[in-house]
């Protein structure tokens, strides 16, 4: 029992490794993604420096300009690393019928995609974070990091990346019933943009909107991790972790139900 679990784990880790190496080979692509993050950080730095100066404040919502920039660097790096979207891959597999073959292979379809996604994400993530950190350091300097913040932030990031996977999995699985899933992907990515702290950290939201935004899944993808890393607060960590767990359970259940129902269509139509 123990041995078979170990074998299974190694199998999925191998899937992650293959995807990690496959993404790492295309260095031009990796660097070009980081360049995009750099341009954005540069633009955000100038934007927030001007905006904070215009409002004659050095701190808004508990955040200074350097803290805002480090948060945005992290959310942008996290988000940009999760491409290509899993929904796109699943959508293609459902439409082309490849899924019918994949479900008969000796692995779980969802776990296969999950570990592949983790491999791809982490290969771009460290490049984005390394380049993004250097640029943030040069533009706004270092902020007061806390080791606990980094550790707990990493925990929230793993939950957030998993939550992101589940939502894309659900969007991809809608291809069982809907012809084109791209519209759902756009709406989801705009939800991330508005409430995910990719342009405007949630701490800068008006108070009543902040309360709503914090319990939405979008803010729990990447923002919660970045926020805890930049300004560690244990109670904030637990607040975010509980919201994440609730959303993980909710979307996990939906994804499971959708997969079970969708797969019946594959059996009937033969892919």
């Amino acid at each position: 029992m123990k041995r078979s679990f170990l074998k299974e784990t190694l199998k999925y880790l191998e899937v992650a490794k293959v995807n990690y190496l496959n993404t790492s080979v295309y260095t031009v692509n990796l660097i070009s993604r980081s360049v995009l993050v750099v341009v954005r950080i540069w633009a955000f730095t100038q934007l927030y420096q001007v905006a904070f100066a215009a409002s004659r404040s050095t701190e808004i919502g508990g955040l200074t300009v350097p803290m805002v920039i480090w948060i945005l660097m992290m959310t942008q790096s996290f988000q940009s690393s999760t491409r290509p979207h899993v929904s796109q891959l699943i959508d293609e597999e459902v439409k082309s019928g490849t899924l019918a073959y994949m479900v008969n292979r000796p692995y779980s379809y969802a776990l296969f995609h999950y570990f592949g996604y983790l491999g791809r994400t982490f290969s771009s993530l460290w490049v984005n974070l390394a380049i993004g950190s250097l640029v943030s350091l040069a533009l706004v300097g270092l902020i007061d990091f806390n080791w606990w913040g980094l550790l707990f932030g990493l925990g929230l990031l793993i939950f957030g990346v998993t939550l992101n996977f589940l939502i894309y999995l659900i969007i991809g699985l809608t291809a069982f019933w809907v012809e084109d899933t791209s519209a759902f992907t756009w709406i989801y990515s705009k939800g991330q943009l508005v409430f995910g702290g990719l342009i405007l950290p949630l701490a800068l939201f008006p108070e009543n909107l902040l309360r709503i935004a914090e319990i939405l899944p979008f803010s729990q993808l990447f923002y919660s991790a970045a926020r805890v890393v930049v300004d560690f607060d244990l109670s904030l960590f637990w607040h975010y972790a509980l919201i994440q767990i609730a959303w993980l359970a909710f979307f996990g259940l939906i994804a499971y139900q959708m997969f079970q129902r969708g797969i019946k269509n594959v059996s009937i139509n033969g892919g």
């Binding site: 692509n29 995009l36 341009v39 934007l47 001007v50 012809e179 756009w186 405007l200 939201f205």
Partner: protein, 275 residues
């Protein structure tokens, strides 16, 4: 003299013939997409909701910070109107420009080379992005809601949208054509496109120093965002001329980079069936 005039007339007729063909090709693509009604509507409505999200971010931003160097929500609304309309025009009529790198890298230009029409034109009009119709509707809607529209302003708005769409088109042709020279450059070109659009969607008055130089050169957001908003806020002949000169310069550069690259192109020996 008469010979020169004859040559000019021939060129003008050629341009009109290509414009007519572009409209015909796009019309066919849209009609064929409309056959799948649910998918068509999902894409168009999805894009409108997507655009609303972006406006919402800046609406929240300008609740907290009322102004960024004199740039407030009304300026942002004008910027969104221009940006969504010019981008939609590009993606509806010439989405292929966005795929040039892929065509080059995979040897798919062979198909377009076998036709008597201009290769660059044919490759660019070969794809239409249906969801961009949503962008177009959204941009026009925002202009009529927040742009304080008058007849003259609307004409200026359309003119600016077309010229800036052509500038983005040139930018795409230049960056995507770099695949001729550097091989696997599609993703980099795609990221440059996103970087340009990204920079064009921030308050333009916040940029200074090195970043300002970037927006004036490598990623010319200044010409597709800052200048158009200024023109719409008050007619300015010198800004119009700046925009037109920039468009002409980038057009010449785009044709040069593509044509020179095409000579280096090696056939992919692919047999493709285009339906």
């Amino acid at each position: 003299m008469f010979q020169l005039m004859g040559a000019d007339m021939h060129q003008i007729r050629r341009v009109f013939s290509y414009l007519g063909l572009t409209l015909e090709v796009t019309k066919l693509s849209i009609l064929s997409a409309m056959e799948y009604r649910v998918s068509f509507l999902t894409q168009v409505v999805g894009m409108i909701i997507n655009d609303l999200g972006l406006v919402l971010v800046w609406l929240i931003f300008f609740q907290k910070f009322t102004s960024v160097n004199g740039w407030g929500f009304p300026e942002m609304a004008l910027l969104f109107a221009i940006s969504t309309v010019n981008h939609s025009l590009l993606m509806i009529f010439a989405r292929g420009a966005h795929h040039l790198g892929r065509f080059i890298a995979r040897g798919e230009l062979d198909y377009f080379l076998s036709y008597p029409k201009n290769v660059l034109w044919h490759a660019c009009v070969s794809k239409t992005d249906i969801s961009s119709i949503g962008d177009l509707i959204f941009g026009l809607g925002i202009f009529f809601l927040f742009g304080q529209p008058t007849f003259e302003k609307f004409i200026a708005f359309l003119g600016i949208s077309i010229v800036t769409a052509l500038i983005i088109f040139n930018f795409n042709v230049i960056t995507q054509s770099l695949t001729f020279y550097f091989g696997n450059f599609e993703e980099a070109a795609e990221q440059m496109h996103h970087a340009l659009l990204g920079l064009a969607l921030y308050p333009q008055t916040s940029f200074y120093g090195g970043l300002k130089i970037v927006t004036l050169t490598v990623l010319p957001a200044f010409f597709i965002a800052a200048v158009p908003v200024q023109i719409l806020q008050g007619f300015n002949l010198s800004l119009w001329l700046t925009l037109l000169v920039f468009w002409l310069t980038t057009s010449l550069l785009a044709v040069f980079v593509f044509q020179k690259g095409l000579r280096r192109y090696e056939s992919g020996s692919l047999i493709n069936v285009h339906l």
